[in-house]
Amino acid sequence: MHIYKTIKNFLLDQDYYIDLWQENIHIYGFQKIDVLQENRAVFVLEKFTLEILGNNFRVLKLTNKEILLQGSLKEMRKL
């Protein structure tokens, strides 16, 4: 399913997408990272700001507009 989603995202050329599977959080299309802590991260996207809350967030990959985090997600909201 993940492969299907990835291909779909690639082909449909989304502005942003947020993907969750197991303990991984993949966020694509942000413009800036405001906060990147163990239990909280804030990403500025084009139309809104995304806040995620949880425990033991660890960065696995990081480029200019996407990030792969590992950790236990408790809450996600638009600010």
Partner: protein
């Protein structure tokens, strides 16, 4: 060329600040592994300098990846790579070069003409091996060059050597059978057996004959009248006699193994032996096992067994037995399958200066008939 990746180790007290800084200066982190007090990160090599400029972290390169890594490894192991390359070139050369050409045939003239033809066609020592098609072509050309001498030719490649096998063309020779001939005695003797396919026997079993006597006549007579002349053919076995003298030294040496063994490596080239290690044994017997052959030199693994030499004296009867045995060997050398020694008798025996001199009378069953042509009367 694409940028290569490297692994770096980053020490920082504040991971969050570091990640945000990376985001700010556009350093992409392709893989992040958090360890106890450091981060191991995969980045593009070109970004390494950017990381070095961040003042609140300590960064060092730990591993190159991709093309760069290959280059680094190449530099590190250049001795091995050069040796490998030289080895491969050497292997290629020794598997594609010919160091000797051997023409196998009993006739020296055939060997000579074939060797010359091969040389002319480029099949000679210290040259590159030829491919299958070229060898087939050369074979045919040589056979065409000597149609009357050569029947068949095969060039076999064995290691660094060409082995050329040749079959000589034998043209049927006209048989020049003589018209008239006798079988005469080549020695004095007593006839014991006579086998003939043409002609007429002149002597019977146990008749005594002298050298030159006609044994099987080519003249066929009836009522004292010559009817026909043929070429007599047959074998006549007769008892003939020899006197043989033999000298046997009464002293002889024996070699006994002491139990001491030494190992060595021997190189044999054109009948000359060279040892790798100097042998410390004065007298020894060796047991050689062939290892391999390189450039025409054969290498052996040699076991050298130390021996002591003892001088012994032979008693008379043993010496006499040995003398008679030697007589047997001497006579047997000249005999064929059907010929044999009938009897032996010692005529004289004397010992002089530790040597026994023996004279032996030997009776031998031997083929004494030989063909002799004659001119037939009209």
């Amino acid at each position: 060329m694409t940028d290569s990746y490297i692994w770096v180790e980053v020490k920082t007290t504040n991971n969050e600040r570091f990640f945000l800084k990376c985001q700010e200066i556009q350093v992409f982190l392709y893989d992040v592994v958090e360890e106890k007090d450091r981060l191991k990160i995969k980045i593009l090599e070109k970004d390494f300098k950017k990381l070095q400029k961040i003042w609140f972290i300590k960064v060092k390169k730990v591993q190159d990846l991709g093309w760069k890594a290959l280059k680094e490894k190449g530099k590190k192991y250049h001795i091995y790579l050069i040796s490998l390359a030289i080895g491969l070139v050497f292997l290629y050369v020794i598997s594609h070069i010919i160091l000797s050409v051997e023409v196998i045939h009993s006739n020296q003239d055939i060997r000579f003409i074939v060797s010359n033809a091969l040389n002319e066609k480029g099949i000679k020592k210290n040259t590159w091996k030829k491919d299958y098609q070229e060898i087939e072509k050369i074979k045919q050309e040589i056979l065409d060059m000597y149609p009357e001498d050569l029947e068949w030719l095969e060039i076999e490649t064995k290691g660094m050597k060409y082995i050329v096998r040749v079959e000589e063309r034998k043209l049927e020779e006209e048989k020049n059978e003589p018209q008239a001939c006798n079988v005469v005695a080549s020695k004095d003797g007593i006839v014991k057996e006579m086998v003939y396919s043409s002609g007429e026997a002149v002597y019977k079993r146990n008749d005594s004959v002298k050298k030159g006597d006609i044994l099987i006549s080519g003249t066929i007579k009836k009522d004292e009248e010559t009817r026909k002349t043929v070429c007599a053919t047959g074998s006549v076995y007769a008892e003939v006699w020899y006197e043989v003298s033999v000298s046997i030294p009464l002293t002889y040496e024996t070699h006994e193994k002491t139990g001491k063994v030494r190992w060595n490596i021997k190189a044999k080239n054109n009948g000359f032996n060279d040892f790798l290690f100097k042998s410390r044994l004065e007298n020894y017997e060796e047991d050689a096992t062939s290892l391999f052959t390189l450039f025409g030199t054969e290498f052996f693994f040699v076991k050298q067994y130390e021996t002591t030499v003892k001088e012994l004296i032979m008693n008379e009867s043993t010496a006499l037995d040995k003398a008679l045995k030697e007589v047997d060997e001497k006579i047997s050398l000249t005999l064929d399958e059907k010929e044999e020694i009938i009897a032996k008798k010692v005529l004289k025996k004397e010992i002089n200066n530790s040597t026994m001199n023996v004279e032996v009378f030997v009776s031998v069953l031997e083929q004494i008939g030989e063909r002799q042509e004659f001119v037939a009367e009209e």
